[in-house]
Subunit: 226 residues, 2 copies
């Protein structure tokens, strides 16, 4: 007798992959490069976006803000006169802990793709599930704060492995926290030796120019690929 | 025609509730009070447990460590000669982002319930899904670090609402981060006016005695209820 193994999880991810490709096609048609920006809660995703915008991004940037509830981050970005779209996950199953391709697809009619070159999708603050769902992005970036400790790459390896860029934030706190930066960087390299790694501080501005340049390079890399 | 509405999410939570009650019955038979300890990644759950144990808990404590991968936290706790059981969520769907009642049930044969009065279950670092799944606990506690910013109660209200105790950690960092403690505490009170709130620092020891006393009071409150 032929036996079929039912793989529910794989199917859910397959459906996500299909919709992510549809998003990707829309982004390509509009010539928009897309970054999926992830981190734990409070690592500084919004603050680093604010700093990059203030530093003068060459790209015409738009932001899609994913949050369980509220529009606090979207309000901060809107103050910088950047088009921002709020996507709340709370109406679902007690609040989804991540964005998936279909949620992003639902929001796309409200994103002014014709007016931007670069779309940054700020995911829900979470180091687990967001790494499992592609949304049609060109690049994945994560922020990791030194206040979270040097062991996070070893405890959440999928997230660190999924990203092209690991941005180590809040380095101004290094004198005040029990985090050995060299060991943190070694842990990042152990789980993802190919990642680009930046050390930055949204508070002091250190490393912000490299972060801005990385964001501006995404549309160029994307154009080469397309 | 009679129409039935299928509620998959509610059913999943119902099944969890059934298993949580079975866990609860086992804990009651053994006379063990249980705390479900939650936070974002790197807020200091393990460090605060270490400090409470070092401060001399009256209760005979055991720890169940929930992690996506690895046993770094369990190793830290084991060094303090406390019985610790590791529960990894990675074998499932790319790593579950929370503990549920059935995962805890699976681990129970390895928890020495006859030798302890208090079981602390350290959940996976995540401010969303862990709040949705009861595991048979007497009390839910969360750690929130001032480094994460003052807006977290407003962005992850379900977690802050689900807990009897909100422990604001890393207050030694207040001079170095953009977090107004009064505003953070007001945001906690806005989403959960009934929560007990402690301000602590695992690093300097400030507030640790109150945290230890809260943990020791859980078995007493549990005995009154039973």
């Amino acid at each position: 007798m032929h036996r079929t193994r039912i793989r529910v999880a794989a199917d859910a991810l397959d459906a996500n992959e299909t919709i992510a490709r549809a998003n990707r096609a829309d982004f390509d048609r509009a010539g928009v490069a897309v970054v999926n920006l992830m981190s734990a809660p409070g690592s500084g995703k919004t603050a680093l976006l604010e700093r990059a915008i203030e530093a003068g991004l060459d790209s015409r940037v738009g932001v899609l803000e994913g949050d369980v509830q509220g529009s606090l981050d979207a309000d901060r970005i809107a103050r910088l006169h950047v088009p921002v779209t709020q996507l709340n996950t709370a109406p679902g199953f007690g609040g989804e802990c991540h964005l998936d391709a279909n949620m992003v697809r639902t929001a796309l009619p409200d994103v002014p793709l014709a007016e931007i070159d670069l779309l940054v999708i700020e995911n829900v603050g979470n180091l687990v599930c967001p790494a499992e769902f592609r949304v049609g992005e060109d690049a994945r970036a994560m922020i990791c704060s030194v206040a979270e400790g040097e062991d996070k790459p070893l405890k959440y390896p999928l997230m660190f492995r999924a990203c092209e860029l690991v941005c180590v934030n809040k380095i101004d706190l290094l004198p005040h926290v029990d985090c050995d930066l060299d060991r943190l960087l070694a842990n990042v390299a152990a789980v993802n030796p190919d990642a680009t790694v930046l050390t930055v501080s949204a508070r002091t501005g250190e490393g912000i120019e490299a972060w801005r340049a990385w964001l501006d390079a995404v549309p160029r890399r994307s154009a080469t690929r397309a």
